[in-house]
Symmetry: C2
Subunit: 307 residues, 2 copies
């Protein structure tokens, strides 16, 4: 079995991440469309607002990670789909609330006006609330598996998205603005704000394949390290790319005096950290062998992305 | 078996709702205290803010209803407690977000400054999000029962609190401000904003006693009608009581030009509607007999409350 990097470079078994992402994104979008109430469902304002942000061109990184993790454990993507969609609803709600004037006060997201700029703050708060609630309704559509019943699935999602992880990261981020931040504090934020939900995505994918405890640990390690790497790269891109390239306001971290890896340890060291984290992520995948080809390609894609 | 009203008036079996409420509230508060992270848990801001609103002196109507419904079906209150606490977390999150400047813009709740007045809007949004998420984590602590597994419990709570019920009511309320509202539209709002979660409280209580479909239907009818009656009374109290008596700003509905039962059909007709709804609620309890003494007393307490 070739090592992940070699596997990617092999012309014989070259994994086309572009095709995989396009196919997965299409399937995730179709599933989300089925799971969400139609835009015309009364009251249409809220369902239109929920769909506006959910279908605003997100990369579907978390759901794709969930599907790829299921496949790595020998599971089927159909089984993982409700869990993948639940995580995407959580991610989208957190973005809507994150963009509010009382939080990051952002006017654009993925090149489009943010939810509150289109529907007003009141509806934006409620659209976030509705997507958060919807996440658990969709999660309950999952089949449930011998090792992982609905109780386990709910606890997995609440833990990653609750006040000790996702929301804790958001709070620390909010409270850290304009203050001097250490690299340890920055890692605390990134672990919670980004890594926790990516980790959860991979773990839920494994659970949908009724994975072994060892497989779950490997997915945890992969998700955790890819998540941190992803955020370090986000910080790097904020200062190296333009607003047009990113599809969202560039240089915002600097303007808001937000602590970032580049602002604390410099650009070169940040790049090194991202690469080291990705290596750790790849190492975690070794036990899966060729079954992890999608996960490996996904990790590689995340490290080399430009937006 | 005496009819509920007669039962209440019987000196022999007189049910002391005051003692029942005091005992239940104390038990619910203790359970919520156990389920919630400590205020000192990092990041302490969010846990302090969550606890501030959760322990702001709420009447615990929904959790008590849940416990009483469990008892009516021959269940134990300990079994219903996680479900009772989950509903209270949903209720509290909805109040925090409802009070935000972008929504009802209220400075006081239960005689105390609202969450965003104390912690700022950003933290108030996140405290609401965290309580909503916490609700499902607490729900997952329930044991699960032969007829009602965790999947059923999650679906019950998401349905009542999602974009078709609780949030739909909030949206309709927000969009109706300053507009002429029919009594049908007002009922639509009350059914969703108040009745849905009260109904859910009673149903979850029944589920924790592994109730029969007929018992569940009776609890649904009771919760639905008590919920509507409760809201009509809230409208009545808003114009008949002072701010001091209510512990929140009185006359606010009039100031905000909000449609209420008194403003549409007048005070006397509103009182008649509340009484009719409560009668329907009491009728629903007949099949339970004496086991529903707490539920009956609770309905009576709600109709005759002054705040």
């Amino acid at each position: 079995m070739p090592a992940p990097k070699v596997f990617l470079k092999s012309t014989k078994n070259k994994f086309d991440i572009g095709v995989y992402l396009a196919r997965s994104t299409e399937e995730v979008n179709a599933a989300l469309n089925r799971f969400l109430p139609r835009a015309s469902t009364k009251p249409s304002t809220i369902h239109t607002a929920m769909r506006y942000s959910l279908f605003a061109g997100g990369k579907r990184l978390r759901p794709v990670l969930c599907l790829a993790a299921a496949e790595a454990c020998g599971g089927k993507r159909e089984a993982a789909m409700p869990l993948a969609c639940a995580v995407e609803c959580i991610h989208t709600y957190s973005l809507i609330h994150d963009d509010l004037p009382a939080m990051d006060d952002d006017d654009f997201r993925r090149g489009k006006p943010t939810n509150h700029k289109v529907y007003g703050e009141g509806i934006a708060v409620l659209a976030g609330d509705a997507l958060l609630t919807q996440a658990f309704e969709i999660l309950a559509q999952a089949k449930g598996w011998p090792h992982y019943d609905h109780r386990a699935l709910v606890l997995e999602l609440t833990k990653a998205s609750g006040s000790l992880q996702l929301i804790a990261g958001q709070v620390a981020d909010l409270e850290g603005e304009g203050k001097k931040t250490s690299v340890q504090q920055l890692r605390y934020i990134h672990e919670r704000k980004t890594s926790a939900l990516l980790c959860c995505s991979a773990r839920l994918g494994g659970m949908s394949a009724n994975c072994t405890p060892l497989q779950l640990q490997a997915l945890t390690d992969f998700g955790y390290n890819v998540g941190l790497a992803f955020q370090v790269i986000d910080d790097i891109l904020d200062i190296t790319q333009t607003t047009e390239q990113l599809g969202k306001t560039a240089g915002k971290d600097v303007t808001a005096q937000k602590a970032t890896y580049p602002s604390i340890v410099g650009l070169d060291r940040s790049r090194k950290i991202a690469k080291d984290l990705t290596k750790k992520a790849f190492d975690a995948l070794k036990p899966f062998g060729a079954a992890a080809s999608a996960l490996t390609a996904l990790g590689d894609y995340l490290l080399n992305r430009d937006k």
